[in-house]
């Protein structure tokens, strides 16, 4: 079964003369349990696709289907029990005045869970943080630890589809390795489907089964990871990108 189907997706910002078409006619699908990559340079619209799926970019047309069901412009609360997102910059995605406990507790409460304490404990263990981090504030955490908290928050509602928006680009390489390993483990444990946006081809090559190359808001090519590794891209732009990122 398909986890996510995107057909002819257009996303734009502003209107009239100021209208910017960030994504044009994007079509791709992601199978259940698959890990799919979106690569491209800054401004290519790769993150915008994720924001359109979650409803953070309100102006879009086309079809987005999650687990076979088309989603409208207003998303029901249950939608967020299926789809969750991890943001790029862990320094910006945690509320500066909320402790880890508050962040996770509020998320669980919003999704109607009762056994909040037990779940907070479990989530922290899941992302490899442990209990001693529970009552810390973001400024008492390193970048990698913050990103683990953000991942725990995304896992709280037990989603099936996790959207990852450059989850490691703000982190040091050694920390990046830890987070990528964690994401790989979580995927097997929780049978998650990933859509991962990155500008780093080697990260996508490591994490994903298939990837779409984007340029100026359009998907120019969808490749399998083997084609990526052997540099067998068809489209000249994908080839150019591959050559530049040695």
């Amino acid at each position: 079964m398909k986890m996510l189907e995107v057909q002819d997706l257009n996303v734009w910002f502003g209107s009239g003369r100021d209208r910017v078409d960030a994504v044009k006619h994007a079509t791709f699908d992601v199978a259940q349990g698959e890990s799919f990559g979106l690569v491209g340079e800054s401004g290519s619209g790769k993150s915008t696709i994720l924001r359109a799926i979650t409803g953070l970019a309100p102006d879009w047309s086309g079809t987005i289907k999650v687990e076979g069901q088309a989603i409208g412009h207003k998303r029901p609360k249950t939608f967020f029990k299926t789809v969750q997102m991890v943001f790029q910059d862990p320094y910006a995605s945690l509320h500066p005045r909320h402790s880890v406990d508050q962040v996770l507790g509020e998320t669980l409460q919003l999704h109607g869970f009762r056994d909040i304490d037990a779940r907070v404990v479990r989530l922290l263990d899941d992302v490899g943080l442990g209990q001693k981090f529970r009552f810390r504030y973001p400024h008492q955490l390193s970048g990698g630890q913050r990103q683990r908290v953000a991942i725990a928050r995304a896992l709280a509602p037990e989603p099936d589809l996790l959207l990852l928006d450059e989850p490691t680009s703000a982190l040091d390489v050694s920390v990046q390795a830890e987070i990528l390993n964690l994401l790989a483990d979580l995927r097997t444990e929780h049978r998650l489907t990933y859509v991962m946006v990155s500008h780093d081809l080697s990260v996508v090559g490591h994490m994903c089964d298939r990837l779409a190359v984007m340029k100026d808001g359009e998907i120019v090519e969808v490749l399998g990871v083997d084609a990526l590794r052997h540099k067998n891209a068809e489209h000249p732009y994908s080839r150019h990108l591959l050559e530049a990122s040695v």
Binding site: S42, S174, V203, R229, V246
Partner: protein, 285 residues
């Protein structure tokens, strides 16, 4: 090879409520007419080292060193006023994000001309001609249009090239580049590096290239200092970086995902407290 810059036992200290924090701890190195890379993770003190050379550490931070000699003259003995002549005139610095380094309400042309006339008594038309030449030197195709543009009209790669052009106008002996390409896309990154490379070769400048990207540094520099917790843990030739010995450097290299070498799990760096205890390796030649 002549030595341009000679740094001996450099410390950068930040006193705080919980005691003194040492950002850089006893670093020594020399710079000739070469491309010297400084790599390390965030918090390793690599940026602080670059700033300390120009004495750009803001109070309460303190810079201490046995000496920081530029052509045999100790920069630490200079007054703040004399330092201002050194900055820009003899040592230039390019920062990570060009957006924050350019004045948003002045055209690029005016900014370059102003920078040029600050350093030499050229007439306005001479300065204009020189500015055009500089923009051409950094491979900007349509320099006249760029001269009339405002910084927000420029892309990241253009902005960074303009910054480099501005830094090169006074013909400095040393260029310190702090993550000059990390805000740029890979394809643009290449072009900016090529420009810096050519300028270093043609003008015989010394370049200090500060970056977190091991592959980039291995590819681009002549010699590399690897910093960890404020100290240099290893010095090696850039083309031999992949044969580095120190477990920290090895750990960093192994933690990178590689397209040509797929693995199920990436190696995670295990930090040994001894690394930060060990004395700094000298980067002098």
């Amino acid at each position: 090879m002549s030595t341009l810059l000679d740094v001996e036992n450099l410390w950068v200290k930040f006193p705080s409520r919980h005691g003194v924090f040492d950002a850089v701890r006893g670093v020594s190195f020399t710079l000739g007419r070469e491309r010297l890379g400084i790599v390390g993770e965030s918090g390793s003190g690599k940026s602080m080292t670059g700033r300390a050379i120009l004495r750009l550490i803001r109070p309460p931070g303190i810079v201490e060193a046995d000496h920081i000699k530029l052509d045999g003259v100790n920069l630490l003995d200079k007054t703040e006023k004399e330092m201002r002549d050194v900055r820009g005139q003899r040592i230039s610095m390019v920062m990570q994000d060009p957006k924050f380094s350019l004045n948003p309400v002045m055209t690029i042309g005016d900014q370059i001309i102003e920078a040029y006339r600050l350093h030499s008594k050229a007439s306005k038309s001479e300065a204009y001609a020189k500015s055009l030449e500089m923009l051409e030197a950094v491979s900007i195709r349509d320099p006249e249009r760029v001269m009339r543009a405002y910084p927000h009209e420029m892309s990241g790669g253009m902005g960074q090239r303009i910054m480099i052009a501005m830094m090169l106008i006074p013909n400095p002996e040393i260029l310190i580049a702090d993550e000059p390409t990390s805000a740029l896309d890979v394809s643009v990154q290449r072009q900016v590096l090529d420009i810096m490379d050519r300028l270093v070769k043609e003008r015989g400048m010394g370049l200090i290239f500060i970056s977190h990207d091991l592959n980039l540094v291995a590819d681009f520099c002549d010699r590399v200092l690897i910093m960890y917790a404020g100290r240099i843990v290893e010095v090696c030739d850039a083309d031999k970086l992949h044969e580095a010995k120190h477990p920290y450097t090895r750990g960093l290299l192994n933690s990178l995902p590689r397209l040509d070498d797929p693995r199920d799990r990436l190696d995670v760096l295990k930090r040994d407290p001894a690394w930060s205890e060990a004395p700094s390796v000298s980067g002098r030649v």
